[in-house]
């Protein structure tokens, strides 16, 4: 019994320590986002890093998600005789939910993991210590550009995902299953409101902050050697993915 209590106690203390450490890192990072001088060159580099690395994946997953959605929704809607609602169904699912979530998951796998590995390699090769030794704040040079870049890039990639997804659904629904093109788009205009777009935007913005913070943190405090970097990269992807889904539920219930 005493052993169990000891184990639980030390687990609770170490978890609290980790959470505190992470919170201090996040607070510091957010503070430096608003503290000049701003490093615009590094920001442009990171926008390219996130955008360029994820564009092809987003185009592919977006189009296939739209196509699968069309198939499944058509099957369900036909049971109720409401095939005409396929267009708005696809658009609402993508804009409110699947677009932001799947984009965030894809960017985490593609660019987030690379970001953790890059910062982690900088840590183990003492490049971060070199920055500190030069009296330059690593937060400003390594972390802030990623957060700002993610806030800019995530909504843009999400918009791209949504658009490609809607056209993927169009290809299947209109060209394959025979729904009229006019019905597909005109009902979409009727049912999709600005509020839905805003919900998607809020989600993608918050996912951008979340993913960039988690991936940067895991890289910044990586373990020793190549094994440490590899472990941090895996942890960053797993933790970001879980947090995306949990935060999505929370936001979904608040913004419904």
């Amino acid at each position: 019994m005493e052993k169990l209590l000891r184990f639980l106690g030390s687990w609770a203390i170490s978890t609290l320590k980790k959470m505190g450490h992470m919170t201090i890192f996040f607070a510091n990072a957010i503070y430096f986002v608003f503290a000049p001088p701003f490093k615009f060159n590094l920001l442009l580099r990171q926008i390219r890093f996130f955008g360029n690395k994820s564009m092809l994946v987003i185009l592919l997953t977006g189009s296939f998600t739209g196509m699968v959605l069309a198939l499944q929704l058509y099957y369900i809607l036909r049971k109720f005789g409401s095939e005409a609602l396929l267009g708005p169904g696809i658009a609402l699912s993508l804009i409110r939910e699947l677009g932001p979530v799947l984009t965030a998951l894809m960017v985490t796998g593609r660019a987030g993991s690379a970001l953790t590995a890059e910062i982690g390699m900088m840590r183990i090769s003492e490049q971060i210590d070199a920055l500190t030794a030069m009296a330059l704040n690593p937060m400003r040079y390594l972390i802030v550009p990623n957060i700002v870049a993610a806030v800019i890039v995530f909504p843009l990639l999400t918009a791209m995902f949504d658009t490609i997804g809607i056209y993927g659904g169009y290809m299947v629904g209109v060209k394959l299953l025979g729904i009229s093109s006019g019905t597909y788009f005109s009902l979409m205009e009727d049912y999709v409101e600005m509020k839905d777009v805003i919900v998607g935007l809020y989600k993608s913005l918050s996912f951008g902050i979340l993913v960039s913070l988690v991936c940067s943190y895991k890289g910044f405090y990586t373990g020793y050697g190549a094994e440490g970097v590899s472990k941090s990269t895996t942890e960053a992807v797993v933790m970001s993915s879980i947090l995306i889904l949990v935060w999505d539920y929370f936001l979904g219930s608040v913004l419904l």
């Binding site: 003492e126 490049q127 030069m134 009296a135």
Partner: protein
């Protein structure tokens, strides 16, 4: 002047520094030697403020840097140049970018002044014409020379060398030592070298300090260290297996 006063540092249950007391005079070069994993790099990281001691102080020009807030500590760091063990060059920048980086970020020099300073630094370390190469394209010795050029580009008062010749062949090691002497003569900095290159490092250094079991067991000129009667110093210089410095147990 750098002073360590009763410096203690442990990592978990492992005691690394156990009461370091050492004074390093202005413009001298001091070499800290001791067995691998004995805390030499930990000691140097206290000068940069990368580590905080559990107990004791580190004074730079009379200021205890262990108690300084981050902004004040950065002012002290501006006096430092550091050559890290692996060079710590930024992978994403070429040689020019690496050396120019501290000037671009910390000074108001214009582009042509920066270019002039970087080219001079490259010439000083014998790497003229290599400015467009990336760190991955350089040999170990070249990387260390670029790192030295970067450490000296802001003309710091104190330069820290963390194993500047580890992994280099004897010829490159000698030329690296000559480079340290030449740059010291030119810039007149206070140099702290961590090195295992005994006895060759004795040609470069003014004094040598021996770190053993977390304390400085002897400090003196190279001649005094060569004639030392301390068992740990003698064992380290001769490379003997029997003595107070624990040798690698080959049966483990």
């Amino acid at each position: 002047m750098i002073e360590f006063i009763d410096l203690h540092k442990s990592f978990d249950s492992q005691r690394v520094l156990n009461g370091i007391n050492l004074t390093i005079a202005d413009k001298e070069i001091i070499t800290i030697m001791g067995k691998s994993g004995g805390g030499k790099s930990v000691l140097i990281k206290h000068i940069i403020g990368l580590l905080k001691p559990d107990k004791g102080s580190v004074l730079i020009d009379g200021v205890d840097i262990t108690k300084l807030p981050p902004r004040e500590l950065d002012k002290i760091r501006e006096k430092l140049g550091v050559l890290f063990q692996g060079g710590a060059l930024f992978d994403s920048m070429n040689v020019f970018g690496n050396i120019a980086f501290p000037l671009m970020e910390k000074t108001k020099l214009n582009k042509s002044e920066i270019e002039e300073r970087v080219m001079q630094a490259l010439e000083d370390v014998g790497l003229k014409g290599m400015e467009k190469k990336y760190p991955a394209e350089l040999s170990g010795g070249m990387r260390k020379r670029v790192a030295l050029a970067r450490a000296l580009i802001t003309e710091p008062n104190i330069v820290l060398f963390d194993e500047p010749t580890t992994g280099l062949d004897p010829i490159i090691t000698s030329s690296m030592h000559r480079l340290i002497s030449a740059t010291h003569e030119k810039y007149g900095y206070t140099g702290v070298i961590i090195s295992h290159e005994v006895p060759r490092i004795f040609e470069v250094t003014d004094r040598v300090a021996m770190l053993h079991n977390g304390v400085i067991v002897e400090v003196g000129t190279p001649e005094e260290i060569k004639n030392s009667t301390d068992a740990a110093v003698r064992q380290f210089i001769t490379g003997g297996i029997g003595g107070p410095i624990e040798a690698l147990n080959m049966t483990q």
